[in-house]
Symmetry: none
Subunit: 225 residues, 2 copies
DNA sequence: ATGAAACTAAAAGATTATTTGAAAAAGCGA
DNA sequence: TCGCTTTTTCAAATAATCTTTTAGTTTCAT
């Protein structure tokens, strides 16, 4: 369950976003000023929607404060080009911005995308799990549907690379580069394919329909989805 | 922190640029040939300074390769009018060129300008959305009305090209040039039509009335409106 | 109404992935 | 170190998927 803080002084817009997002299954909290936002931010959220122009200051300010202590994703709501330029100029680490007026559908897409990215980044934890698969990077152990799985060093490296870049498609050449320390004497692409195959045999319940290691035809592989 | 790849076979010039830019706070990597550049480009850079005449080929060649997968800004270093003319035919949104001999100060100004332009133009994120369509260029994923859509490599390339040039009409010959490595053995225009058709089948709610990929009769295609 | 341009559908052609098996290399314990 | 096991690599056959061509149909501008 994701929780979203909506910081927007326009009551109509704020309410509109709130109603829509809640209908989509998000938890939301609406505030209308920087100070209220600061207060609420003592609790934790998955994401902040942040207006730039607020009655008691600029959203940019708040974004900077947030960045000082966390990686909480921020999406700015901008009213015009000037504000967009401000964002560019300030280079505050915002994750995205969206220009008013916007359709709630588009907003939701952006939110999803940002959340997806941010949960990927949180992949610096030592233990990863997805569906029946659990990988402990520190202990280098993998379990699938509760059962331990033995992987070779290369297989583990490959799986780790895919997981750490979950959501992104990794081309074969990138995978090869990263697994076989850059410019080792040339490695055949098929070698990679074979390693993928063995990983699949060990992990996938149905090899013909992989849910973990997915082929992107003509490009490479990606984890999940 | 910006990182700049310097591709220039003249050791003196290359070194001079490197020293100056590093003093200005840029990270730089120097290479002296196309092949070295290709190797380094597996890592990411903010900008490429690219000589035209290189021992193992033309910088234009490399630029084209870069363009196939990204909008990484390129500034050409040209030695004479002939080279400048060659570039004109080549130019793309975020490219620029500078004629030798140049002062490093001028070079830095250009670099700043290009970087500014590229971060503004390339927009706020890798995510594009319009009506029900969302394209995540980094993830290479597309969703339509919330549902994921699987595109082939060519289809994705085509869609990306149209979206990145939203607002202008792309002629068939330009599309073909950019998608099929320029002077591949001649590609039939109908091939392109067929790819467009498949994209439409996958994306358009009503194929007869396309809202995303719009035909401009007698000329080519354009994205949206 | 006409010819040129664009679209469609389906088959042929070309690429790219997967699978398999076997040889080479690397690890490992005695 | 030797022989054994495991892992990795490569090559070739098969399978899956994508691309291009062809040919017929529709749409468009004049």
């Amino acid at each position: 369950m994701y929780s979203i803080l909506i910081v927007e002084d326009d009551i109509i817009i704020n309410g509109g976003i709130k109603v829509y997002l809640e209908k989509q299954g998000y938890e939301t909290v609406s505030v209308y000023s920087l100070n209220e936002a600061r207060e609420k931010l003592k609790k934790s959220f998955s994401l902040v929607l942040l207006d730039i122009n607020l009655p008691d200051g600029s959203g940019l300010e708040l974004c900077r404060e947030i960045r000082q202590s966390s990686e909480l994703p921020v999406i700015f709501l901008t009213a015009n080009d000037t504000e967009e330029n401000m964002i560019e100029g300030f280079k505050y680490g915002c994750d995205d911005y969206i220009s008013k007026p916007f359709s709630v559908g588009v907003l939701e897409q952006r939110i999803k995308a940002v959340l997806r990215r941010s949960t990927v980044q949180s992949g610096n934890s030592d233990i990863f799990s997805y569906k029946g698969l659990t990988v402990d990077f520190k202990r280098m152990s993998v379990t699938n549907e509760g059962k331990p799985v033995k992987l070779s060093a290369t297989e583990f490296k490959l799986l780790k690379l895919l997981i750490k870049n979950k959501g992104q498609v990794l081309t074969r050449s990138i995978l090869i580069d990263r697994i076989w320390d850059c410019d080792e004497n040339y490695i055949d692409e098929n070698t990679l394919n074979v390693h993928i195959r063995r990983l699949r045999q060990k992990l996938e319940p149905d090899t013909k329909n992989p849910q973990y290691i997915v082929t992107v035809f003509g490009i490479g592989y990606t984890f999940g989805e």
